[in-house]
């Protein structure tokens, strides 16, 4: 009970303080571009609780889930292949770096041509953008597996797929999950960006519409929705991570705090 209370206090403490500062700072503001906390909350309920939830939020979220899911699966898979072989790493690195540096807004028209303008294009955009943190972290994590562990595996005849499953993946897991954690918000951001093009519905589309229509409170409430989604996704992720990395947290928690 006390633990729960404390956790709640930690979760809410800083946000409440920040909102208070925000409230005070915007007391005298008159410009409609400056968001204020109280109208924002009112607007939030008015705008998002209702039809929009089904027409905009749910489709966006499912695209996000699919896109990041693909990104994670592909990132880990490709990361393993690339991380385990120096040759493949050298072969792919410049190409990866190139695509990583191309802004999605300019890639989208090409993808529109190649894939079309429906959901699969948006999912591809999300996957293409969110894959990099997972991919890079997987490569680095795989490269850095403990040499003694590797020797142990080898000497016990653990190789191929079994070695990946029993040694490489678990030992790289902390770093892979660090990558996944980075890729989730990128997925959300790309969910929005992908809806800025070839689009007629979705959370990002609505926010852009609000912005164009100067419906400033609605627009900010949309950004609030994004933040809340991000928060929820990250909480979900933490539960998963705690489970997968139970050993790692036990190992690290004891004494690092200093």
């Amino acid at each position: 009970m006390r633990g729960t209370l404390k956790a709640i206090a930690f979760t809410l403490g800083l946000p409440i303080a920040l909102i208070a500062i925000w409230y005070v700072a915007t007391l005298g503001a008159t410009s409609i571009f400056v968001p204020k906390p109280v109208p924002l909350v009112a607007e939030f309920f008015e705008t998002w609780i209702g039809d929009r939830l089904l027409t905009d939020v749910v489709p966006s979220l499912s695209r996000f889930a699919l896109g990041t899911g693909v990104a994670i699966a592909l990132g880990v898979l490709v990361g393993l292949l690339v991380g385990l072989s120096r040759g493949v790493r050298a072969f792919t690195e410049p190409v990866f770096e190139f695509f990583r540096a191309v802004p999605p807004p300019v890639l989208i028209p090409v993808l529109g041509l190649l894939i079309g303008v429906d959901d699969s294009m948006k999912i591809t955009v999300i996957a293409l953008g969110a894959i990099w943190p997972v991919l890079l972290n997987t490569i680095e994590g795989v490269r850095a597996t403990d040499s003694v562990q590797t020797e142990t595996s080898r000497s016990y005849g653990i190789h191929g797929f079994n070695r990946v499953r029993y040694q490489i993946l678990p030992s790289a897991a902390p770093q892979i999950l660090a990558g996944v954690r980075q890729s989730l918000p990128i997925g959300i951001i790309l969910m929005v960006i992908s809806e800025m093009f070839f689009s007629s519905s979705g959370l990002g589309f609505s926010i852009i519409q609000f912005q164009r229509r100067f419906a400033v409170p609605e627009m900010w409430s949309g950004i609030l929705v994004l933040g809340l989604i991000g928060f929820a996704v990250s909480m979900l992720f933490q539960v998963v991570e705690r489970r997968i990395l139970r050993w790692y947290h036990g190992l690290k928690d004891l004494e690092n705090a200093s």
């Binding site: 079309g116 070839f198 164009r212 229509r213 400033v216």
Partner: protein, 311 residues
């Protein structure tokens, strides 16, 4: 050699502050990087603004969304952009004023924007668009407004048209690949489509059809500036009218300005079909626009046009 890949100036040169007789008033003008805006560039290059006592700095923006807040806070003094955004902003309580006219779609003949479809698609009239996917560069702007207006005028159901946002440069490509059934495009893309009559056909000119002579761009400023410095607004109106008149008289010089602003090849810029440019604005056009926008729910309340349009 000098020049840039898009042909556009690498930096928007601030007007050379010529040692004119009188004091020049420095102002910042926001423009979009589209062909008609080149007129302002022309005015700067040919010293027309200086003659009116204005020292103009240009600021390029990629859309009204980025420009309007800057105008409202005074970081940009005058903006050149589409009137519907101004009306929408005003209806939301942003204190925006229309200072002058700028460009107008053609009231008759072949307009400079059109809805285009593939030959053999079976879309021949406005009402055929019902149940079809139509691309516009941005929804809730003049494109879909006038298309909806046109469909309704023909007795169709404007709600049954599905609009999708596709940037102008990508529109024809998407039409080709069958991802959309019709596209709304302006010049120079319209010219490209018309050049292939066996491939594309024009459904109609929505601007001309729904609101003949519709202003496609106006110049606007903030309420604060309009009230505090009406003389400046007056000077601006005079200057911009002068600029647009001179541009109309010098098609070749204007072509060069377009090529330099947008990066179009010069030959194409010369051949480009243009809107009607004029600083004069018939308030009735905005009244009609506002009414149509209200009818189709683009604005929830009609703005007070008596205040918005600076007399």
């Amino acid at each position: 050699s000098s020049g840039s890949p898009s042909g556009a100036p690498a930096e928007s040169d601030p007007a050379a502050s010529a040692p004119a007789d009188g004091e020049l008033t420095p102002i910042t003008v926001g423009i979009l990087t589209i062909a008609p805006s080149a007129a302002v560039q022309y005015g700067v290059d040919h010293g027309i603004f200086e003659e009116h006592g204005l020292d103009v700095t240009l600021q390029e923006a990629q859309g009204g969304a980025a420009m309007l807040p800057a105008v409202s806070t005074g970081q940009i003094d005058f903006g050149v952009g589409n009137p519907l955004s101004v009306l929408v902003a005003a209806s939301q309580g942003v204190d925006m004023r229309v200072a002058s006219g700028y460009s107008f779609s053609l009231a008759e003949g072949e307009d400079i924007n059109a809805v285009v479809t593939r030959v053999g698609e079976g879309v021949e009239s406005w009402s055929d668009l019902e149940g079809k996917k139509v691309s516009v560069n941005a929804v809730n702007t003049q494109g879909d407004l006038t298309i909806k207006g046109s469909v309704e005028m023909e007795g169709g159901d404007p709600g049954a048209v599905e609009f999708i946002e596709i940037a102008f440069p990508d529109a024809l490509a998407q039409l080709d690949s069958g991802n959309v059934d019709a596209v709304w495009i302006p010049e120079p893309f319209l010219g490209a489509a018309l050049a292939a009559p066996d491939k594309y056909s024009v459904v109609g000119y929505p601007n001309q059809n729904a609101l003949p002579g519709l202003p496609t761009m106006v110049t606007f400023t903030s309420g604060q500036l309009a009230e505090e410095d009406p003389e400046l607004v007056e000077t601006w109106r005079g200057a911009i009218s002068d600029v647009l008149e001179q541009v109309n008289a010098d098609r070749e010089g204007f072509g060069e300005a377009i090529a330099s602003l947008t990066g179009m090849p010069e030959a194409a810029a010369m051949d480009l079909r243009l809107e009607r440019l004029s600083g004069e604005l018939d308030p009735q056009l905005l009244v009609d626009l506002s009414a149509l926008a209200a009818k189709h729910g683009f604005v929830s309340t009609e703005p007070d046009l008596d205040t918005v349009i600076i007399p």
